[in-house]
Symmetry: C2
Subunit: 286 residues, 2 copies
């Protein structure tokens, strides 16, 4: 995916979100404002871009997958709102702006998260494919993102192990990224062999993504990162840097990306765009 092509895809995702989220002046306006604030505020749109790239890689079109791709972005946004709440990570800054509960209060932020998660399934249902609903729900739920989230919380303060780290990273982060790639493959009617390759690609990509996140938490400044850096280390989180050290984490992040690229390298279908995204994930600064 060239830079121009990624920018164009990102614009179409932004347009879909903007056009399909409830209008900020429609009742209940406070809820709708908070939903839009959390989603429209920023973000790399990595998950929907991946879903679209995977769909196109197996021969589908952007239009086929767009509602489900945007649905996955809603789930990512809801998870950030809930994750930032005082009873969770208690964060004040996200995408360079006050977090949703800082801006709208805790009750509205909680409900805006609930509403975004619910709306995600309404959007995903537009593809009329029950398998896609199942893939998204599994990746986001107790055996996926939410499961990783609670493991992340309960691991805080303990001596971190590599196994614990992998459980947390796999579920908290890699599962939803993997789901984005798999949903793209399913929407584009990829073969079972293609879906299987995409799944393994997504898992390695997702693990690399969280390694880079942990590295940036130690090395970046708030202005670039858009959120409070150093917070994971300060709160004794189980991070890649805590387990492997900064240099060790960098080596492993590259290893996961190399592994991801290797999975698709010999395929004859057009996966160049997925490979470009893999490079972006390794080299990103925010």
């Amino acid at each position: 995916m060239s830079i121009v092509s990624i920018m164009s895809t990102k614009n179409q995702i932004e347009d879909y979100l903007n056009d399909n989220l409830p209008a900020a002046d429609s009742p209940p306006a406070e809820l709708h404002e908070a939903m839009r604030y959390a989603v429209i505020g920023g973000g790399k749109r990595l998950r929907p871009i991946l879903a679209i790239a995977a769909c196109e890689a197996v021969g589908g079109t952007l239009e086929t997958v767009l509602p489900a791709a945007a649905a996955i972005e809603l789930i990512h946004s809801y998870s950030l709102i809930h994750d930032d709440l005082p009873c969770m990570d208690d964060d004040d800054l996200r995408h360079g702006q006050p977090t949703t509960h800082k801006k709208f209060g805790e009750a509205t932020a909680l409900l805006a998260g609930d509403a975004l998660l619910t709306l995600a399934f309404e959007w995903a249902a537009k593809l009329k494919n029950s398998e896609i609903i199942k893939v998204i729900a599994r990746a986001a739920g107790n055996q996926g993102m939410v499961g990783g989230q609670i493991a992340d919380l309960s691991a805080t303060g303990n001596t971190p192990s590599a196994e614990q780290l992998e459980f947390i990273h796999s579920h908290k982060t890699a599962d939803l990224i993997t789901a984005a790639v798999v949903v793209g493959g399913l929407a584009g009617e990829g073969s079972p062999a293609q879906i299987s390759k995409l799944r393994k690609f997504g898992q390695n990509l997702g693990l690399a993504f969280q390694f880079v996140d942990d590295i940036l938490d130690c090395t970046s400044e708030a202005q670039t990162l858009g959120k409070t850096p150093g917070k994971d280390m300060a709160s004794d989180k189980v991070t890649a840097v805590a387990v492997y050290g900064l240099e060790g984490a960098k080596v492993l992040a590259k290893k996961y990306i190399d592994e991801a690229k290797k999975i698709l390298a010999d395929e004859t279908w057009k996966s160049n765009e997925l490979l470009s995204i893999a490079n972006f994930i390794l080299n990103r600064k925010y």
Copy 2:
């Protein structure tokens, strides 16, 4: 639906929930324990019973609709967990037991709610009917239950009006009850005319249900009710009793039930069980 038949249906719902919720000893165990605690703890199972009765009324079987009926119960359970949180209604007692956050802490309760909402869509997807996913998501989301919830919160303390009350009751309560009935009709492959009747029946039933809830909040004791009574009045909530007085609310609850029964009265399909449930809702003590 005879008492025996309702009890048998309720047992099958309990079995489905028990068998399909994640095992309490499977990791992440803390999350799974909290999910089971919130769902298995108690409840009338009104929404899944309604979905099954509606499905059978149009000629379908219990098995056809059971996963979606149970999914709607998960959504009801998640809404109670989040509703009871300190930043919302801050309640200590539910189904005669400590609320989920009192038992497991706020972070785990929040995540258990998120996981139940997500799992609901995985279960509902088993019916392989995108229309059913859409009906459930709309009823539970920003234009449904969550929308009613935020209106309920922001209305607290103001002078209540009948219009405000109807908006809150329709969305906070009646939308999900209506969805249960409609999902039953759709799963049982009811005709568009039947679905339309079921929708109107559900709306009236749902409004009656919330009127009776408001009445019981004023007249019941904690032991019977299983939650803290008098709390809505004490916190200046917009309730049917606040708007119409206790006797006025009783008259209107009966009116909604009469209206619901009238909608199905002349139908030739076997809606007797739905009519029995309508009577139960008016006369319930908890």
